[in-house]
Symmetry: D2
């Protein structure tokens, strides 16, 4: 399987700013890639920082005010080896987090999904979220979490994933968020899916069902969207004016929903 | 400096349960310790799991129903070496978390503490929180976060620390929670303080001012109390019936509030 | 039917305070009653203010600091005439209110009770709330509303009533809160129930099922508990130290749950 | 003073629907007016319902699906007599309501405005809200209340008014919301202001300072925006496609901010 992805961002910085990018594909399969970040047309130096689960962040410090442009492209051949879960994974990803307030949703989760476990539980949660939410662009705010989505019954991919994660954690199932490139997604954009830890490994749960799981390509992984934003500031501020993402695969794979599928 | 600490917990388990303890002192200074966990008087086997920043969790799986008792004691000689912050620390601990909803508090933080930085900012935030909150046992719920505390203006040590952390993160200052043993604390209990990353290192901020900072002894470290609970369940349930903590130091140190002090 | 009720309150006032009592039975059936309010044993003058739906508030102004005691008793013969709903009732009580945040719960209500109306809807909502909540004294805070109760799945009578009301309003059914004396309630206390407007009149919905509906005796009526607190301050502050309520009926009525029952 | 106002609304109804309009000017000064509501060009019959404080609601029942158009115009000569506050006003409007969650904001209000009363308090609250909020169209959701606005520090006129009201109630000052026509407002739209009860009467508080107070013309009055929506459904649903409001006065009055000004 060969996947090709690109991301182009542009906007205005009010500096001095420190920018953090999470757009590079995670370590795993073989890749060739190119990342360029310019301010008013002049190339900036980025520092790569290793993040959990193969993630690769890019940090740019001391950026003055101006127009920035990010241009990223990667060609990825093959698939990642299966991740060996760390000892802390089961513990850390079962905890409530900012946008996955599973401690508040626990009674709901336990009432709704009593008696289910393993793949049957993942299917039930994914189906429930897919059936009860409406995908409505612009319907949620950045500060909204899983409880807000559960109540409003609408959102975008990150909201679907947050609700899946929070419900699973409410049932003591470790779950986390993965930001991904998603060949086949329409309209194309960055995508976010949940990953759940059952039967000793991490499996994709995508209640939006908007793209085949086998060709999803991991960018960043974390407790929720607070850990995976594709562009954020550690100081200064920015306003994004343009964003364009592409993701293709040599042959779009079939997605057999009866199988547990990992992000590779 | 020699510190001696003990913790005794007891309660009822409805199993099969998996328990997680975070009561052992973190790696750092030399220690001798003893940890015993029994169910109906029979010793259980615990697995030690390394957690961030020297933390040491103890996991017990497959626990049937019964009365459990935890007995921990440690003698710690000397102080820990100064922690070298990891590359991700500045990034990860600036993000909002479950009980430190800094994204919601950012406008408040920026209005209240505009123009301050470094130690002056830590002092201002600590003083503000200390002055505006009332320490009221039982005034908060486990699901309460920094916004709730900010509004209600009361809480216990974890609430003080959460609010300090959320305000600091709202100003782009990385901040995290440390669960500690606290010689001099009255009434004695587990204690929680904030740590803030300024001037290249982590420093204690304790808006409760209830115990001297130099003799605080780290147990667990994380984004907020979701990461540092002294006793939690990964499955099954428990009800705590008894808890007793002691923490002493050979000589209670003076706490010079004009200094930045690290947790060691 | 003859009902006898008493209420005794005591506490400390930090004055100058203005106190509002809502403990007198509402206008309707014939009654004899006695209300006494003393400060440090000296009788205070109360002003009666007519409130919606027959409610009778008692206001005491300019109260200095001291120990107050309230002593109320009433004997009520017969039942109230059926209330003729006002033109605004249907409109006003369909709106969201402080503790009945029906705008947030609307999607949940519509998903859960689609297709039901009239008495079948009242029965379904009452059964759902009764089955999904646990009655746990002290489990809720005064600031908690229907969404909080919906999520936590526990509460006391006011929480049950708030959730019933919010779910009904989320389905465009007008609903309101009634504070009542409740013969047969165990343990005896002030009670709160929902009233719903269907089939042209107001009917009791009590998801707690803790007392027979036909002998409930109305005190105050409003959008939620903000309108019906038995004792509140318009200025100054008070701490309640004692409260004792009794409510008896000459013959405890049967409660035929197949019938719509009004508060009379 | 002569004021002329118009409101034109259009949209799509999915019926059978029951619509409620709150666009007619409140009873008070002499007026001539015209209200027309059509569905697919055919005039519908509206029922006028008296609402508190002179408000006049218009209800239309049994509306089938189609395109509706509302056309309202009024010419108002002179000003309303001063309102005589009812005995319940001081009590009812001091309570927390759906979008004015004053019980949550009370500690903040008391810390921020300690020691102030009367006109000085109104000025302080109005100035604080005006200075700390940014007027940003589209920044708030319909479910947002005063706490949300307090935290986010942005909103539109209803959010400004809700925050003013909640802060005042948190200080035991009765406060309510008035929907008004506002000559001089730019861009022209329906407007919302707070009214506060001090010195025995109701006075306008408009922290947006977007229009002169003396020529504001009351439409509806209530606890918050839940009571004053210009168009809502009691059943069925609608989507608004057009809204145009005008409000003029023969001579735009000066607004002397040193005076307490009533809505007349």
């Amino acid at each position: 399987m060969q996947r090709q992805v690109t991301a182009q961002l542009s906007g205005l910085i009010t500096g001095p700013a420190e920018l953090l990018l999470a757009i590079a594909v995670a370590d795993g399969p073989a890749r060739t890639e190119r990342l360029s970040l310019t301010l008013d047309g002049v190339e900036l130096v980025t520092q790569e920082i290793a993040a959990p689960h193969g993630g690769r962040l890019h940090l740019v410090s001391g950026v003055p005010s101006g127009e920035f442009a990010v241009d990223y492209s990667a060609t990825v051949d093959g698939i990642a080896p299966i991740e060996v879960p760390g000892a802390l994974d089961r513990i850390e990803y079962a905890r409530p987090s900012r946008y996955c307030d599973s401690d508040k949703l626990m009674p709901v989760a336990q009432a709704e999904f009593a008696g289910l476990a393993g793949k049957a539980l993942l299917d039930a949660v994914s189906s429930w979220v897919g059936a009860h939410l409406s995908y409505v662009a612009g319907s949620s705010k950045p500060i909204d979490g899983a409880v807000d989505t559960y109540l409003s019954r609408q959102g975008v991919c990150r909201d679907y994933a947050h609700l899946v994660i929070a419900l699973l954690r409410g049932l003591n199932v470790p779950a986390r968020l993965a930001a991904v490139y998603a060949p086949g997604l329409d309209p194309m954009d960055f995508h976010a899916v949940a990953e759940a830890y059952v039967e000793g490994a991490w499996w994709v749960v995508d209640a939006t069902a908007l793209a085949p799981r086998p060709s999803l390509l991991r960018i960043a992984t974390g407790r929720d969207a607070a850990d995976t934003a594709f562009l954020s500031t550690l100081s200064g501020s920015l306003s994004l004016t343009g964003i364009e993402v592409t993701a293709t695969v040599d042959e779009l794979p079939a997605d057999d929903l009866t199988l547990l599928t990992a992000l590779r």
